[in-house]
């Protein structure tokens, strides 16, 4: 069994990482999962969270929002709409993302008054954001839902 696999992290604007890794922790929409070499082929959507990769070259962490991960036996590719190395993440970044999530929630609430679906989704997005902010140690200014 191979010890390492190919890991790619791409955002629409650039390729953030491409390296050999041993394990990737993915914040999946249905819960976190860790992928190691020879994982069953899986495609999962992402929730806002922290993506952690471990490899021979060390550990790297990225804050990702929106997108999906494609896991196959010999590699993982993560396509994130927005991805920032955790070290580069600032309060301003988070505030911006929070603001966006809040607006989405508000428009969903105003737009779909009798359909809980989109509203719940937006609320989940927002709470995911808050959880992510706590995890990376930035204040997420807990919004009142």
């Amino acid at each position: 069994m191979a010890d390492t696999m190919q890991f790619d992290l791409v955002s629409p604007e650039r390729r953030l990482a491409s390296m050999q890794v041993t394990v990737v922790q993915i914040p999946g929409a249905d819960g976190d999962m860790a992928a190691m070499p020879d994982h069953a082929p899986t495609i999962t959507t992402l929730r806002p969270g922290v993506l952690r990769v471990d490899g021979p070259e060390g550990t790297a962490e990225y804050v990702v929002t929106g997108g999906f991960a494609e896991i196959s036996a010999n590699g993982v590719s993560v396509l994130a709409e927005r991805a920032v190395p955790k070290g580069d993440m600032t309060q301003a970044h988070l505030d911006e993302m929070m603001e966006e999530a809040k607006t989405t929630y508000q428009t969903a609430k105003d737009g779909f008054q009798n359909e809980p679906g989109p509203v719940d989704e937006a609320a989940k997005l927002l709470s995911d954001m808050v959880a992510m902010g706590d995890e990376i140690g930035l204040s997420s200014k807990q919004p009142s839902l």
Partner: protein, 292 residues
Amino acid sequence: MPNLKDLKNRIASVKSTRKITKAMQMVAAAKLRRAQEAAEQSRPYTERFNAVMSRLAASVGGSDSAPKLLSGTGSDKVHLLVVMTAERGLCGGFNANIAKLAKAHARRLISEGKEVKILTVGKKGRDSIRRDFAKNLVGHVDLSDVKRLGYVDAQGIAKDILGRFDAGEYDIATIFYSKFVNVVSQIPTAQQIIPASFDAEEGANEATTLFDYEPSEEAILADLLPRGVATAIFSALLENAASEQGARMSAMDNATRNAGEMIEDLTIEYNRSRQAVITNELIEIISGAEAL
């Protein structure tokens, strides 16, 4: 014969024009390189995204529960044309070509009895389209303040387009932009983005690996389709940016060359007139001396 002073002024003015066009050409060349790099950077994302989408679309697409963004609204009465052009002129036929293609498309749809709505991105296209289709314009996206194209810009446009789709304002959306081939050739292109069409063949080829889907295929597809619109728009914007700079570069190259030729012609004319004036003066002096 124009007098010497006038000629001299003309030469000076053409020379400074040449300097300006030369500078614009060099600026365009630098910007083109950056635009090409940006397009290059976004390619891995777009390619993988489309690969996964076509696979998903191939497996879910046929069913009745397929999302509207993929299967369409079931009618094709109202078309939305998204015309993407530059914010600036002086780039040869770039803006005109895109506008021409969009106009031809709009005319054909109208003659088929369809309703046409036009959303413009970029000032130049709007100016040109407003002349013929003022009543069809439904909106305009201004990118003139954007220094460096980002995915957020594409997301903004996509949000606008999707909002209109959800509101039932149109059935089919097509984007118009210019595909960058090389510096001298940019092809105006029309691409349908709603309902989305993916290369089914590609999907069939990849279907050999069986994937697990989390949450479910339908949920993933519903999540990804709106992102697909943004991705398509983003890559179109990048192609457009590269095309614009390429077109400007070759236009300015031509202008610089024309200015050079003009300077040569004017210089020859100037020298001839100068010669003629000197000869005249000599004749006057000699004949004056002879008369004494």
